[in-house]
């Protein structure tokens, strides 16, 4: 098993040479030269607005059961498919069972009633606001991209990696992120002998040439990883689906010391307007994938989790009241999960507003913790980046105290 270490050295002028394209935030300062000693950030986005009330269940709230006669998760101990108790007030969806030990050993922290200060219930607006790092604003760069840039990390190929078929907006910035569907498929068709002629065909400027240039630069390393294959450590088993495979790829890149500082991985299918199911069904299946994958990563990394922070977020939670089609419509407050050796886990953070009518936001769980409060503390304490005013412009951090450092 490889030791997890990252040896980034700021090459003189490399950060400046990376170029500040127009549209990015002006006047960014760079961190002093030296080795990057922060955590690898793994940012998981649950696309579609995950039903966090059924993921982290407020099982002592009568209003939860009154509003969800069909799809509510039973209180702990009382039935099959019951919630798994966390702290006497909240419980985990039963399909998230693989996460329970990590909560209990204090690696996993949860923040409930978290979200965006913007009231939009549009998926696309809210995802953008969160990824660009400022509700109500759409920038050309994202919070992860600005973090990498202000840390003064070199514009190396693997500094920022977006898994999947589209690079996440949060990664956009002056350090071009690498978009990878899978390590296994990352190879030059027709063989490496064609690489020189392809480089000639794709010489030039423009987005095609830039993407090609990244591709050529990544090929050698990716081939090494592909040919080496990957055997997870400590008996970890990643689910045999796209999300599981992508997370295993992230794990391999971390262990192989390719220079990864931040990776983004998406899991879709959370927009459960219709027939969401309760302890079993569409939502439950998705929860199982999420939990099994995070469990696999943490198991696989072992003590290496001390240098990794995983943060899981979604654009909004869903309505308290179930719909007539036994699903839920778009809501507001959701939950965030933070997983890492440097996280003060075993606790549900944030200020629970309750589910009384007067406490709801137009029928939805209110937002009492700004998502930037969670991300900002991670950026500051775990990633070692004090430039919060540049990563999250217009925001002042008052940390919850969920991270060490």
């Amino acid at each position: 098993m490889h030791n997890i270490s990252r040896r980034h050295f700021l090459k003189a002028g490399a950060a400046l040479a990376a170029g500040a394209a127009s549209g990015f935030l002006p006047g960014l300062a760079f961190a002093a030269p030296g080795a990057y000693r922060g955590d690898v950030l793994v940012n998981v986005f649950l696309r579609g607005g995950a039903d966090c009330l059924n993921l982290v269940v407020p099982y002592t709230e009568p209003a939860y059961y009154a509003n969800r006669p069909t799809i509510a998760i039973a209180a702990p101990g009382s039935a099959t498919g019951a919630a798994l108790d966390l702290d006497g007030f909240f419980g985990l969806h039963p399909s998230a069972a693989p996460l329970l030990p990590w909560f209990q050993n204090k690696t996993l922290a949860i923040v409930h009633a978290a979200g965006s200060t913007d009231p939009s219930r549009s998926h696309f607006d809210q995802q953008d606001y969160i990824e660009f790092g400022r509700p109500g604003f759409k920038y050309n760069d994202g919070w992860v991209g600005r973090n990498l840039q202000t840390l003064g990390l070199p514009a190396d190929i693997f500094t920022g990696v977006g898994m999947g078929s589209r690079v996440q907006k949060s990664l956009m910035g002056t350090i071009p992120p690498l978009g990878v569907s899978s390590i296994g498929s990352f190879r030059m068709p027709g063989g490496d002998a064609l690489k020189p002629v392809m480089q000639t065909l794709y010489a030039g400027s423009g987005v095609l040439a830039q993407t090609a240039s990244q591709t050529f630069a990544a090929l050698t390393t990716m081939e090494r990883l592909r040919l080496a294959g990957y055997a997870p450590a400590n008996g970890a088993i990643y689910p045999a689906n796209s999300f599981g495979r992508q997370m295993a790829n992230v794990a391999q890149m971390i262990k192989e010391d390719v220079g990864l500082a931040a990776a983004c991985v998406d899991l879709g299918g959370w927009d459960t307007h219709d027939n969401e199911g309760g302890a079993s069904g569409t939502f439950a299946t998705n929860v199982a994938t999420l939990a099994a994958t995070l469990n696999a990563l943490a198991t696989d990394m072992g003590s290496g989790m001390g240098q990794i922070t995983v943060v899981v977020m979604t654009e909004f939670g869903r309505r308290l009241k179930e719909s007539a089609s036994l699903g839920t419509d778009h809501g507001r407050g959701g939950a965030m999960l933070v997983l890492g050796g440097g996280i003060l886990g075993g606790k549900v953070y944030g200020q629970w507003p309750g589910l009384a009518d007067s406490a709801l936001d137009h029928g939805d769980l209110a937002v009492t913790t700004d998502f930037r409060t969670v991300l900002g503390e991670i950026v500051l304490k775990r990633l070692g980046n004090p430039a919060l005013d540049q990563v999250f412009p217009g925001f002042t951090l008052q940390p919850l105290g969920l991270a060490a450092g």
């Binding site: 696309r47 579609g48 009231p119 939009s120 219930r121 549009s122 998926h123 696309f124 607006d125 977006g162 078929s165 589209r166 690079v167 690498l178 978009g179 990878v180 569907s181 899978s182 498929s185 990352f186 190879r187 030059m188 068709p189 027709g190 064609l194 002629v197 392809m198 000639t200 065909l201 794709y202 010489a203 030039g204 423009g206 987005v207 095609l208 040439a209 993407t211 090609a212 990244q214 591709t215 990544a218 879709g268 299918g269 927009d271 307007h273 219709d274 719909s323 007539a324 089609s325 699903g327 419509d329 778009h330 137009h362």
Partner: protein, 529 residues
């Protein structure tokens, strides 16, 4: 479409909107003065009539002229307004002239498409009703895969239809009114939905919107079929405003979303026929206010009224105009162009043929060659057309095309979020996706795409030296637009150890030609249009 007069309270029977009325009692024109007492043995009222989509009306457009260069316009016609060059196509367009070609293409019903239709007839799903397609037992017994039939139909139309601009525009509407065939019963219902988008692709936006609102596939996809008075479902109400008409900043509120949801309660699908049904028992019979307009109570007519309001809203004109400009001109169309096109939308009451005409006759369009990235499906069919490949319709073909597009980043007909596929280059270009594009064109040229047979020798003609062979390929596939450095690099690759001016032995040529064609198709010049 005439707005029906508001009906009196309690009159919430389904109303058929359209040219024919078969449903007594007649309402709207003849307000009831006194109710007849119901005879105890009167027959039950007939079931509400099914939804009949409006008949497409061909546009009569005044001729417009383009300010552009004829050769460039012909290339734009063939690559942007069609699914790619085919042998002889540039000559045909050049001969008729761009304006005449556009006029021809804006009246698709008058273009004889019997060749493509004959091929489509091989795909059973294109000839079947919703009810037949919902009969999954029979479909399974016949060992049919409807997703494959859907992909094959799309390939056949893109490759063989002569109504190319109508097909390009139909694809736009399929994206705009996105449906994910992976959800619920959307797959069997998508065939009718696609056909109705096609029938009105260059017709009136209000008709497209109305068809979509009544579309059983859409009713499943955005859950409106479950939307009912005792438990409204807001999904469709939100997305019809955010994504289909006004746009997210178009001026609607959360309250409007709730009210529109109430308006569309009862718009559902008949389980037996798989067709639209208005279920009066599920309809919210209260009054609503939408975007400042008082609505109802008027049963199904409320929904028609809201569709009228949305279709004619000024935000809709600019939202649709911008999307069409982004599809047909460039990733960031100029505000000036969008404003002009939006004005045409408004003035023509959403006549899409007029809107498309305004776009393609603009100076921005004439200057836009090469500015749009081919999306994976575009690349696949452009490759097939450019190589004049023969296509054999089968499960193997569908699986091959589907798998290749998926590797390139596009799951055909399975875009999960209702925004539909993105339309900017940066959304499609990742390192992995680029490698997959190169892999696809190599497999295509190498005859390794199931169901697609290529004859590369016909592209090369009598040329025998690497230089002349590459020149011939450049002419056939890219109308001669490949830069010198690229031509030299490909010729050198083909020549191997020899000089590129020396003829190749026939055996060497046969062995190396597929990789060479693959290189030409892999060029950035073929990745864009």
């Amino acid at each position: 479409m005439r707005l029906l007069q508001r009906l009196g309270a309690g009159q919430d029977d389904a109303k058929k909107i359209g040219k024919k009325r078969t449903c007594p009692p007649k309402l709207g024109h003849h307000p009831r003065r006194h109710k007849k007492p119901k005879h105890p043995l009167a027959p039950p009222p007939p079931p509400p009539a099914p939804y009949v989509p409006p008949a497409p009306q061909p546009a009569v457009l005044p001729p417009l002229a383009s300010p552009g260069d004829a050769k460039i316009l012909a290339m734009l016609a063939a690559t942007r307004l069609s699914y790619g060059l085919r042998p002889g196509e540039l000559e045909r367009i050049g001969h008729m002239g761009f304006e005449a070609w556009v006029a021809e293409q804006l009246a698709p019903a008058q273009i004889d498409d019997s060749a493509a239709d004959a091929r489509l007839a091989e795909i059973r799903a294109t000839q079947q009703s919703n009810a037949q397609l919902l009969d999954s037992k029979t479909i399974q017994a016949d060992k049919r895969d409807l997703a494959h039939e859907l992909v094959n139909a799309a390939v056949v139309r893109a490759v063989f239809s002569k109504r190319q601009l109508a097909e390009v525009t139909t694809e736009f509407w399929n994206d705009h009114f996105n449906i994910d065939i992976g959800k619920s019963l959307c797959l069997p219902l998508k065939f009718q939905d696609d056909q109705r988008n096609r029938a009105h692709a260059l017709g009136r936006f209000r008709d497209l919107l109305g068809n979509s609102a009544h579309s059983p596939a859409m009713l499943y996809y955005l859950d409106n079929r479950s939307n009912q008075a005792k438990g409204p479902n807001e999904n469709y109400a939100r997305e019809i405003m955010e994504l289909h008409t006004l746009g997210v900043n178009g001026g609607y509120s959360e309250q409007d979303v709730k009210e529109v949801a109430r308006v569309f309660t009862g718009w559902t699908v008949d389980a037996a026929t798989g067709e639209f049904k208005f279920d009066a028992a599920r309809h919210d019979n209260g009054s609503k206010t939408v975007l400042g307009h008082s609505i109802g109570p008027a049963g199904a007519a409320e929904g028609e009224q809201v569709l009228d309001i949305l279709a004619s809203h000024p935000s809709t004109a600019s939202f649709i105009a911008r999307k069409l400009c982004r599809r047909l001109v460039s990733d960031s169309p100029s505000d000036a162009l969008v404003a002009d096109v939006s004005a045409v939308f408004g003035a023509s009451q959403g006549n899409i043929a007029a809107v498309v005409q305004a776009i393609v006759m603009s100076a921005d369009f004439a200057a836009s060659l090469g500015k749009k990235l081919r999306r994976p499906f575009d690349l696949a069919v452009a490759g097939i057309r450019a190589l004049d490949a023969t296509v054999e319709i089968s499960d193997l073909l569908a699986r091959a095309i589907d798998g290749q597009c998926s590797a390139m980043g596009q799951l055909l007909f399975r875009c999960q979020p209702p925004t539909g596929y993105p339309d900017t280059a940066s959304a499609w270009l990742t390192a992995s996706n680029l490698l997959a594009r190169w892999a696809f064109v190599q497999a295509l040229a190498g005859g390794r795409i199931d169901g697609v047979k290529v004859n590369l020798a016909s592209l090369v003609g009598a040329a025998t030296t690497p230089e002349t062979i590459v020149a011939a390929l450049n002419q056939a596939l890219l109308d001669g637009s490949l830069p010198g450095t690229s031509r030299q690099a490909i010729a050198a690759s083909l020549a191997g150890n020899q000089a590129p001016t020396l003829p190749l032995a026939a055996a060497s040529l046969a062995q190396r030609l597929p990789a060479t064609v693959g290189l030409v198709l892999a060029c950035p010049d073929f990745q864009v249009k």
